[in-house]
């Protein structure tokens, strides 16, 4: 499919070690964290610099070859699955933090810089990059920009788009455009805001100017233990209604708790129906009274116990347990599939009831570990692919849950993106006119659909062969 001499020409641009085209080496690239569908690209190109990215894309443009951008491949909606795009352009070698401006709280990072590296680089100055997806020690800034990533602390601090001020974008022609920059308020349309969350379909982002946020002066981290998911949900509503905005407000149900405790021995109550991991942060002066209020609110909703992390080590352990919960789920079943949906906060109890009904209907076990304060659910469907018909039931259950989210006024994705996984659900949320407007926006950047074709928008009848699902990675 690729033009003759393609790999050779690419090696000329990015070095001999920068092109992967042996079939056995390409297997690594056949899926990202969404493993239900797989397809290997014909070649993977790994440029070393933003300039090389532009050269590679210019060459692809001339050859008429569509491409898929990829960072660390931790995405969860199949955004990096090659669909009628034989070449993958991987930004993982663009690892430079190019400038750090502490006084102005700005960082310019290349696309392949890992999320956590940014916060580490500015830690001594008391700053950090606020978006903290659970995969933050692997996922890249380029991927965060593409997916508009969230994380547990977005409840108070917002998602990626609230912390990105500028981008360098390579258009599908290879033309390089600087959008925004360290200074805010440049006149004109908010192109940076449109590119964030566009899942690589408007071009390839090579650099991002990020806003840094001060690390809070103090924290209080609580583990509130409840007999049931319903009680815990009511406590979530109570806390939000009280006017306190916790930095994070996370729920784990009993099924997940037991798996996590087996894996990490964090001292979690294995008999509980659900726990809330609640974090308050900010200036020390405001924390004692807020803490007292949170404890009272939890008790009033039937919390059997509210533990406080005594020190930083305990806090770290609780967060480790939460952020690695997905990994621990592997102990419960040979396979699992993570869903991502959103409901209005008041509908959290209702969606949990519906998830439980769905589990029963399809004879599946479904665990819940999620961002309760945002109404962003992550049901984890457990299964064994070797059982006949089970994969079909898993897919049906996932669809049912997403449809329930929409019916309750929510969305089919809060942070994982549409990718290939949820294209079929887009019409549940958007009218044909809305979708047409999105296609129009795309045509401004990429009229020929060369950048990550067949993602995000229902644009054609292309099908990817659905393969047996395996493990689904952490969100």
């Amino acid at each position: 499919m690729l033009p003759p001499g393609f790999a050779q020409r690419m090696r000329g641009l990015v070095g001999t070690d920068g092109v992967v085209d042996r079939p056995e080496s390409l297997l690594v690239y056949e899926c990202d964290g969404y493993t239900l569908e797989r397809a290997a690209p014909e070649a993977v190109v790994l440029p070393r610099t933003p300039a090389e990215v532009a050269q590679v894309i210019r060459a692809l443009w001339k050859d008429g070859v569509p491409f898929v951008p990829r960072g660390a491949g931790t995405g969860l909606s199949g955004g990096t699955l090659p669909v009628e795009a034989p070449v993958m352009v991987c930004t993982s070698r663009l690892q430079k933090i190019e400038s750090i401006d502490i006084a102005n709280r700005r960082v310019v990072a290349q696309a392949g810089v890992v999320n956590l590296w940014v916060s580490r680089a500015v830690k001594d100055a008391g700053l950090h990059f606020a978006p903290d997806p659970s995969s933050q020690n692997a996922c890249t800034i380029g991927g965060n920009v593409a997916e508009n990533s969230g994380g547990p602390h977005t409840l108070k601090y917002g998602v990626t788009t609230n912390h990105v001020l500028g981008l360098e974008l390579v258009l599908p022609t290879g033309e390089v455009v600087q959008l925004g920059g360290p200074v805010e308020d440049r006149p004109g349309y908010d192109l940076t805001g449109l590119v964030v969350g566009s899942e690589g379909t408007l071009g390839l982002v090579t650099r991002a100017t990020l806003r840094l946020t001060r690390v809070p002066e103090s924290y209080r981290t609580f583990l509130a233990v409840f007999d049931s998911v319903a009680d815990a949900s009511e406590a979530v509503s109570g806390i939000i209604a009280s006017g306190i905005i916790p930095a994070a407000l996370e729920m784990m149900d009993g099924l997940i708790l037991r798996a996590v405790e087996d894996a990490f021995h964090a001292g979690l109550p294995v008999d509980a129906g659900a726990v809330l991991l609640i974090e308050l942060d900010g200036p020390e002066a405001g924390l004692p009274s807020q803490s007292e209020e949170v404890r009272e609110l939890c008790k009033a909703q039937g919390a059997v116990e509210v533990r406080t992390a005594r020190d930083d080590a305990e806090r770290t352990l609780l967060w480790k347990a939460r952020k690695r919960a997905f990994g621990a789920v592997g102990r419960l079943a040979p396979n699992y599939c993570t869903q991502d949906g959103v409901v209005p906060r008041t509908q959290v109890p209702e969606i949990l009831r519906r998830i439980s009904a769905t589990a029963e209907k399809h004879s599946l076990r479904i665990g819940n570990v999620f961002h309760a304060g945002d109404g962003n659910i992550h049901p984890i469907i457990l299964f064994d692919e070797r059982n006949a018909g089970e994969v079909e039931r898993v897919l049906a259950a996932g669809t049912e849950i997403l449809e329930a989210c929409v019916a309750l006024g929510g969305s089919v994705t809060g942070e994982h993106g549409i990718g290939v996984e949820k294209i079929a659900q887009m019409p549940l949320l958007f009218s044909p006119e809305d979708l047409h407007a999105m296609a129009t926006l795309r045509s401004v950047f990429d009229p020929q659909r060369r950048a990550n074709p067949h993602k995000l928008l229902p644009d054609s009848k292309v099908c990817v062969e659905a393969r047996a699902p395996r493990r689904q990675a952490a969100m």
Partner: protein, 429 residues
């Protein structure tokens, strides 16, 4: 205006009583429209735009009309679509902390609905009581609260617009976290209605702070004030932080820093600011009515018949630029007033309209220096005559940067005939 009311093409769309021939007061930068139309529903907005489409008429959306001075003079303005009748709160669920509201609803009307539940939409543009939701979105104007709360861009989660041919398009949704599809609402924030008429919007709302406090520090000059403000920013995250000079001698420069939250938080923050000021040997004074002072500061730049220049730069450059701006203004015989947000790097300089004869010269001198540093200098308020004097120096906006060709593409894709507020935006869009 030969066309009489009876023959107005919009009568059928909205009913005769909601179509009026435009008067002199409806002119935008001296460009007189022919009709003012007041639709009462999205359906009527659609009908109005369909008629405008068929007759090739240009359309400009209007709320309460307080911010129409922003932008270049329109090339044409046939129809004003006034959203004043579409002023309802459509859905408000306090426990969800989201609100869906029609574009013509004023910030103050929305504010009182939210206030009942100790919540607010923390947007404080100048003239907030006379600003609509559509207005604050189309202009993306913000006040002191921006330092901690962001702008409309950060609070908007969903939008509904009507395009130039009457097509209704929704973007975003109703929940606080949502990454389904492109973030279309962003396209309309600050776009002056050039991509569609905003008819309703959904926002995240926040709890109102239980208490507010503020500290004021007198300063010798702008550079000193900016240096102090930078230290205050690093002392404790401010709720808001303004540098002001309202022209009154002998010591006109002040830094005012606000704190918000629980009583004990506010007390602690104000004390920490005081300590920072004292360490520098600066005299500070507790502001007794912090929320009122904050609102006054939001209004300050727009209060008088002033020309307002808005410069954007980095926090560390604010002090140097205050000095440059002051010198340049004095040189053209103006007495400048300043209101700067150090956290966001935004400086507003207002000068008496009378002393702004040389506005073009001033902009020509200053603008390239900001743009060379990646910043910008826009003329946020000026009379139509003053704006005419800017045509040689990049209009009110200046250079939008290398994204201009994509912006042009966006405009052409969403408004191919250029009938929505033509010429008002950057690059003549």
């Amino acid at each position: 205006m030969s066309q009489s009311l009876r023959t107005s093409p919009f009568e059928e769309a909205v009913g005769a009583e909601y179509v009026a021939e435009a008067t002199a007061g409806d002119a935008i930068d001296g460009v007189a429209p022919r009709w003012v139309v007041e639709p009462g529903s999205v359906k009527e907005v659609v009908e109005v735009l369909k008629v405008a489409h068929q007759r090739d008429l240009t359309v400009i959306g209007r709320g309460l009309g307080r911010h129409l001075t922003l932008g270049n003079p329109p090339r044409r303005a046939d129809v004003i679509v006034s959203l004043g009748r579409m002023n309802r709160v459509l859905a408000y669920e306090p426990a969800d902390m989201t609100v869906r509201v029609q574009a013509g609803c004023s910030l103050v009307a929305l504010g009182s609905a939210l206030h009942e539940n100790d919540q607010w939409l923390p947007l404080d543009p100048p003239r907030a009581p006379r600003t609509t939701i559509g207005g604050v979105l189309a202009t993306n104007l913000a006040g002191p609260l921006r330092a901690s709360q962001g702008t409309a861009r950060d609070l908007l989660i969903g939008i509904r617009t009507v395009g130039p041919d009457g097509t209704v398009v929704s973007g975003g949704g109703k929940v606080v976290k949502n990454v389904a599809g492109y973030d279309l609402p962003k396209a309309h924030v600050g776009a002056l209605g050039t991509l569609g008429i905003i008819v309703d919007a959904t926002f995240k709302v926040r709890p109102r702070p239980q208490h507010e406090g503020a500290l004021e520090i007198s300063c010798s000059d702008g550079a000193y004030a900016a240096g102090l403000a930078l230290e205050l920013r690093d002392t404790c995250e401010p709720f808001w932080l303004q540098i002001a000079n309202d022209g009154a001698p002998p010591k006109p420069w002040r830094v005012i820093v606000g704190a918000g939250g629980r009583h004990e938080e506010v007390v602690a923050a104000v004390e920490s600011y005081r300590a920072t000021a004292e360490a520098r040997g600066a005299l500070s004074r507790t502001v007794p009515n912090a929320a009122e002072v904050r609102r006054d500061l939001a209004d300050a730049s727009a209060q008088l018949a002033h020309v307002v220049l808005k410069a954007a730069t980095l926090a560390t450059r604010v002090g140097a630029w205050l000095d440059v701006l002051e010198t340049a203004a004095v040189r053209v015989g103006a007495t400048p007033r300043f209101h700067a947000d150090l956290v966001c790097g935004v400086i507003r300089m207002s000068i008496d309209s009378g002393s702004a004869e040389n506005l073009g010269e001033l902009v020509a001198e200053l603008r390239p220096r900001f743009e060379d540093e990646g910043g910008s200098l826009i003329v946020e308020r000026a009379t139509s005559t003053q704006k005419e004097g800017l045509s040689e120096v990049g209009g009110v906006w200046g250079d939008p940067g290398p994204g201009l060709s994509l912006m042009r593409g966006l405009k052409e894709a969403f408004d191919p005939a250029g009938r929505l507020a033509p010429g008002r935006y950057v690059g003549g869009l």
